[in-house]
Amino acid sequence: MKRNVAGLVVVFVGAAIVQLAISNTYLRYVKPGMRWMLLAAGIILILLAVADVLADTRGKEHADDGHNHHGLPRAAWLMLIPVFALLVVDPPALGADAAQRQSPVAAKPVAPKGNSWLANSAQGNAPVPLAVRDYAVWAVWEKESMKGRDFQLTGFVTPGKDGSWYVSRIGLTCCVADGTAFMVEARGHAAPPKNQWVTVTGEWAEPTKRADGDVAALTVSEVKAVTAPANPYE
């Protein structure tokens, strides 16, 4: 009976991906649309390992004559490092630390997603719930339609300098490697703890000037601690 190390490593990698996909943990690292690709890739890897083990136990002579795949190519051991990281470090979703490494300035949108619906909706007292990434852009680049209105934002707390703090979200286009921080300066309220998820309600405020651009701001009237959403990214 042969002990198939290659099969063992491949099955662990496959099982780790399947586990990520079915437990929603994958949302910390990639976009929701990747779920089926991850499941498929994990299942294919597990099947591959099972097929290899079966071929071994049948005692069939192996056709590949230049390679020994019971012992592993040395590089293949490295695949256990991400599995190790998942099992031991349990890497969290990107949060305040990643946001602090970026500038809080929102880039000028290439083609602004119109917020004309905002101007048309009733000028009532009810605060308008907005995505942080929309507010961070509109509060700077679509000022006129935002002035004097109340908004509600949900994001995590990123501490800034001198006791200031930001309501922030990370935007993903593909995976965490391209995560872009969207940050809104919250004024008039003491900073909650770093990385705490909050829903803040407040009025539009004049953006803060910085050397590299303007940062969206909100005069906060209410801060409510909330639990982190299943998909922490926008």
């Binding site: 042969k2 991906i17 690709m37 590089a75 293949a76 990107l94």
Partner: protein, 360 residues
């Protein structure tokens, strides 16, 4: 995390019923270095197997408790998230790539490629470049596929042209570029033209300089005549995955490190100088290793830069980045990667400048 542990236990049953049973291979006294010996079952394999199994199951059950105090630094955790994120994003595309390359090896006869491509290598290059349109995937998928093409007798120049064009000009990438730059179809056209041109130029460059040299480790067909097709498919898929997977991890670690260490602010200081900004965005594409289906969105967000510089970002990214260099070193040999990556970078930056000056 119960699944990995469960699965490991499940595999353990067919593989090793009883750890005490001696291996049925040659006696442990074998003097051959264990990993070099293809035919015999090395003694160290069963030790490695047992240790790996015990360590992995142990980590799955107790890992977090044992190491709870060690990885609490915010920077370390951000790095770990980036590292796992890049790996998890790329792995399905790598699996797709090895699946396709194994299928090419097992089910497409070598004579097909001989018929499909022009006999003369210089003419085969543009045909291979153009056929990159048909592989809708990230750059990770194209490395094993082009290796399989080489092992099926396709001239390396054509396989290189395919390797470079497939991740850059496939419909998914061009569509996402169009979405990222709305109302600017010229960006899509410029990207497709530049990437096609670069892939052809490097294919021809290979014909001029690389032909017959020893630094490309030619991927060889490892299968004896008469082996069953399914068996060829299974073993070449496993082989390719094991070889490429480790290098993907190295690339992901490099990309995560650079993502965490390189501050994005230094970009603002170079945006005004055209030549410098093209080179810097090209380097950024190499360091960040963003997959080709998403890089257009990142390029679109770099609004302080000229369109030409952003074109360079999108042309360089799919064909040379830290993750790809690692994968290519694993597949074609380090000597190849050391020469190929700088050549690709220089040609890509030059072509971006040229096309940007002409079209953008």
């Amino acid at each position: 995390m119960s699944t990995p542990a469960d699965s490991a236990e499940a595999t353990k049953i067919p593989v090793a019923p009883g750890d005490a049973a001696p291996p049925t291979g040659p006696p442990p006294a074998s003097s051959e270095p264990p990993t070099k010996d293809p035919e015999k079952e090395p003694a160290s394999s069963s030790i490695a197997f047992t240790i790996t199994l015990v360590v992995l199951v142990g980590l799955a059950l107790f890992g977090r408790k044992l190491f709870a105090g060690l990885f609490t630094d915010d920077g370390v955790r951000t790095w770990a998230t980036m590292f796992v994120g890049v790996t998890v994003q790329a792995l399905p595309f790598l699996v797709l790539g090895v699946l396709l390359s194994a299928a090419l090896t097992a089910f497409v006869p070598a004579s097909f490629f001989a018929r499909a491509l022009p006999k003369h290598p210089a003419l085969a290059v543009p045909v291979a470049s153009a056929s990159g349109v048909i592989l809708p995937g990230c750059e990770c998928a194209s490395v094993p596929v082009s290796a399989a093409l080489m092992s099926r007798g396709v001239t390396p120049a054509a396989a290189i042209a395919f390797l470079l064009s497939a991740p850059a000009i496939n419909p998914v990438v061009l569509a996402s570029t169009a979405v990222a730059f709305p109302g600017q179809p010229k960006v899509v056209v410029a990207r497709a033209l530049t990437s096609l041109g670069v892939s052809m130029a490097l294919g021809w460059l290979w014909l001029l300089t690389g032909k017959g040299s020893s630094w490309l480790r030619m991927p060889k067909s490892r299968h004896a005549e008469g082996t069953g097709r399914l068996e060829v498919f299974r073993s070449s898929m496993l082989h390719d995955f094991l070889h490429a997977g480790g290098f993907l991890v190295i690339g992901a670690a490099a990309a995560a490190t650079l993502n965490v260490v390189v501050p994005r602010e230094w970009l603002d200081h170079v945006a005004s100088n055209l030549l410098l900004s093209v080179v810097v965005l090209g380097l950024l594409a190499v360091l960040l290793a963003i997959c080709s289906e998403a890089d257009a969105f990142v390029a679109a967000s770099l609004t302080q830069f000229s369109l030409t510089a952003r074109l360079a970002f999108m042309v360089v990214g799919p064909i040379v980045d830290v993750k790809l260099i690692a994968l290519q070193a694993g597949t074609f040999g380090p000597k190849f990667a050391v020469r190929f990556a700088p050549a690709t970078f220089v040609v890509a930056v030059g072509a971006s400048l040229l096309v940007g000056w002409w079209l953008l």
